[in-house]
Symmetry: C2
Subunit: 342 residues, 2 copies
């Protein structure tokens, strides 16, 4: 899922995302709550209509951005007090408020409010954090069930509404992760995410946590690993049975001139590409690789041209979406081994 | 003609320009000479191929940017010594060198090297400047005629090559302008431009200079007014018989959140648009007006999102190209009065 933090996948127009085959994009609750504000988006008919994106949308709970971006964060049983990274203004997020904001935004999938455990964290700290996350998951779901008909696009005739996913936390302690997963599954969410990964831990640990949790999550509901990863990671996790992933990496790397290709990573700023007439990735048939040379992309970066971010992002997103398309195809074709039953 | 200063119309992908109906775009010789360098572009097969733009291209002579951007400019009969605005490095442009660079870039239309007269300028200064421009026009054309087969895409079988236009200068003195026009026409360029306008003078003076020069330029060759203008200006000049115009205004204004619409100028940053669900211009059928609301464009600008520049530029270019399409159509349909014989 390409990430559209502020209601736009940075530098890429919506019609381009559609033609690349993006089926769902993310919006960040924390950012959209601060600017333009969820009440404005509610009055505009919800995020789909506001940003003109008719396909699926997912909003996160705001928990991760509060954790990573805001200042003077103070966590209590009730919720999180924090200051905006934009203007220092003070805000208080509770599970109920996070869900209320997400209902106003009206994405197809919303996330329960969680506390992202930092890395490294002691076991005691991970246990405390997990206690918040589990209590908040229960309150998020209760509030969602009571207010799901408040979504801006609710139509009483069809009764279609949003889905709410729970988020498994537990730091890097497999038993805490498993406990969290079991409790969340008892609550019967519409889908399950594994959060609090890719926060600085070695990759083997990420993999270990995913492997510990995945078998406990229902196979007939979406299983989502949040905030990952590099191309080989997302392929690996998808083959393990992960259904959804999101990451800013393809677009953020693109804005820093880093391209992901079938030949490996390519820093298109490098002088060696100044006269390279090859497409960024000779094996790629995205609109950028079909039309432009490495030499031209390198020039755009060197000249500080905004088109650099756009073209690099389009290629990287095409590359990521292409990986997922290939994995889906190969999973459809071959019998799935029991260990990664999907 | 949308302006693609550094080999890109800022923030707008080439396929979008094509779908908007842009038939020709500009490249700036001064910028491309400094970065990536004309020799690189020559080795890449010319600018069309380097930037992947199969339609027509025009490069200016570099004279205007040397005049407006570079430091420590020193003009002699031989040419202009100047320092790069990028790194302060010293460069010397002669008419022969400007043409050589433009042949390397390989645009369909190149411009003779001129000296842009500042505004205001005394008659003596305008006369001196004009003397340079006329001598340089002759040298530009001679060098072009001797070296036109050096263009990177030259094909001896078809002998198709570039066109070279002369530039009328003369400050705000109609008689100097007329004298210049007559001399250039004697030299038999492939087309004629009126330069040195929109340099700070009142609009009536711009109009007066165009009206003075236009009747002296052959009607069967392109007549090009450089660096104009606002939407009503380009319509007015086109109806007077001007065939070509270029301006950074639609794209530069777009990057500053200024939209040109059938209802006038619209500063999309303004708070009044925060919840405005109307398209930027209700009378426009460009891809931006068909898909996005004022509220969304306002949000993108407020949030500092790169998509703001892209969408605003697409709309403004569509608006400008739409004006020209309408003028063309009405000129085709009605008998043209003698005074603006076209």
């Amino acid at each position: 899922m390409p990430v559209g933090t502020q209601g736009t996948v940075k530098a890429v127009p919506q019609d381009t995302l559609e033609s690349l085959g993006a089926q769902i994009i993310l919006g960040n609750t924390y950012h959209l709550y601060l600017r333009p504000g969820h009440e404005i988006i509610r009055r505009m008919g919800g995020l789909h209509r506001f940003i003109s994106w008719p396909r699926a949308l997912l909003t996160d709970s705001g928990g991760f951005q509060v954790f990573s971006l805001s200042a003077l964060r103070k966590v209590t049983d009730e919720g999180v007090q924090f200051r905006s990274h934009l203007d220092g203004s003070s805000h208080f997020f509770t599970p109920e408020h996070s869900v209320e904001v997400q209902i106003a935004l009206g994405a197809d999938i919303i996330m329960s409010f969680d506390e992202c455990t930092e890395y490294p964290a002691t076991r005691a700290r991970a246990e405390e954090s997990l206690r918040y996350t589990m209590a908040w998951a229960r309150r998020s779901l209760a509030h969602f069930r009571d207010h799901r008909e408040d979504v801006p696009w609710f139509d009483p005739k069809v009764c279609r509404t949003q889905c709410c996913f729970g988020i498994v936390q537990g730091g890097m302690y497999a038993d805490l992760r498993r406990e969290c997963a079991e409790r969340l599954v008892e609550m019967d969410f519409d889908g399950y995410a594994i959060g609090g990964l890719s926060v600085g831990e070695p990759r083997e640990l990420t993999l270990e946590m995913i492997a510990a949790v995945l078998p406990l999550l229902p196979k007939d509901k979406p299983r989502y690993v949040m905030g990952v990863g590099y191309p080989d990671e997302i392929e690996q996790y998808a083959r393990m049975g992960v259904d959804m992933m999101d990451c800013v990496l393809p677009t953020r790397a693109a804005r820093h001139a880093l391209l992901f290709t079938s030949e490996g990573r390519l820093n298109i700023k490098n002088k060696q590409y100044a006269e390279d007439q090859n497409p960024p990735d000779p094996a790629c048939d995205c609109p950028v690789c079909r039309r432009y040379s490495r030499a031209y992309l390198r020039h755009l970066v060197q000249a500080g041209e905004p088109l650099a971010a756009t073209l690099n992002s389009i290629h990287n997103l095409a590359y990521y979406l292409g990986i997922m398309r290939r994995v889906r195809k190969s999973l459809e074709q071959k019998p799935v081994p029991a260990a990664t039953d999907h």
